[in-house]
Symmetry: C2
Subunit: 126 residues, 2 copies
DNA sequence: CGACAGGTTGACGTTAACGTCAACGGCAGA
DNA sequence: TCTGCCGTTGACGTTAACGTCAACCTGTCG
């Protein structure tokens, strides 16, 4: 349970390049501290990175991941801002529900494809 | 229940451009018939397009969608080819399971974010 | 006949998300 | 002191997935 990480620590842990991590910082998704010239990552920054990568696996753009990250540390803004944040949250939820449905259907399809494939192999061996 | 479609029929139905559809054809994902110079799409081609778009919503690349399409009309190859197809199927299944897990976690997170947001709004109004 | 909506093929432009490379600084070990 | 290793900042290259535009054909409506 380290309390801080170097850039290569994170790169190794998540199997990405340091260039990628710096790129996320350029885009304003990460904001590590500095020790002299070097970047130092707190567990909070590491969590942000995890969120980004999870977003990637779900086909989210970095912009979308950025807005997801922002949901985690709200700016304690006014009601308008909170309403807009709430709207974003519900938008993402709808997105995820669509994906859930897509996955369900595709799972069924793949299951059938698998069966057909196994049948064909069995027939071949007969 | 039309038995064939023009390129703009499909573009309108799925809310994409004709350029996009032609692009998929360039990449070998679609293979419409021709009536003179114009493209004619059968229901089977339309289904392929649906598969591509579903893949897109799940963050699949066109290459991945291509291999998914190929699972639907197997080339009735030899056992080796079938085995490799089976491997691909299971790979996609694993991919989907990872996505399912990601979605579950993100749903919970968003639910909490939503609650925090609602609480903050309530506090603001108090 | 004219024009107009739909189709076609290139060819080039664009954006996101990095990869690659050059040129440099700092520090630990032999 | 020199050799690596890890880090840094630009700057430019690359790939996927289209968008945009020009130049053209083709059927049909008034």
């Amino acid at each position: 349970m380290a309390t801080e990480y170097s850039i290569s620590d994170l790169a190794a842990e998540f199997d990405i390049t340091t260039r990628t991590i710096r790129f996320y910082e350029e885009k304003g998704l990460l904001a590590p501290q500095r020790s002299g010239n070097s970047r130092i990552y707190t567990p909070a920054e590491r969590t942000k990175l995890k969120l980004i990568l999870r977003g990637k696996r779900l086909g989210f753009t970095l912009e979308e991941s950025r807005s997801i990250i922002e949901m985690y540390d709200p700016e304690h803004g006014n009601t308008d801002q909170l309403q807009s944040l709430l709207a974003k949250i519900r938008e993402k939820q709808a997105h995820l529900e669509q994906q859930l449905h897509d996955i369900e259907v595709m799972m069924v399809d793949l299951g059938e494809a698998e069966k057909n494939c196994l049948d064909a192999i069995a027939a071949e061996e007969a």
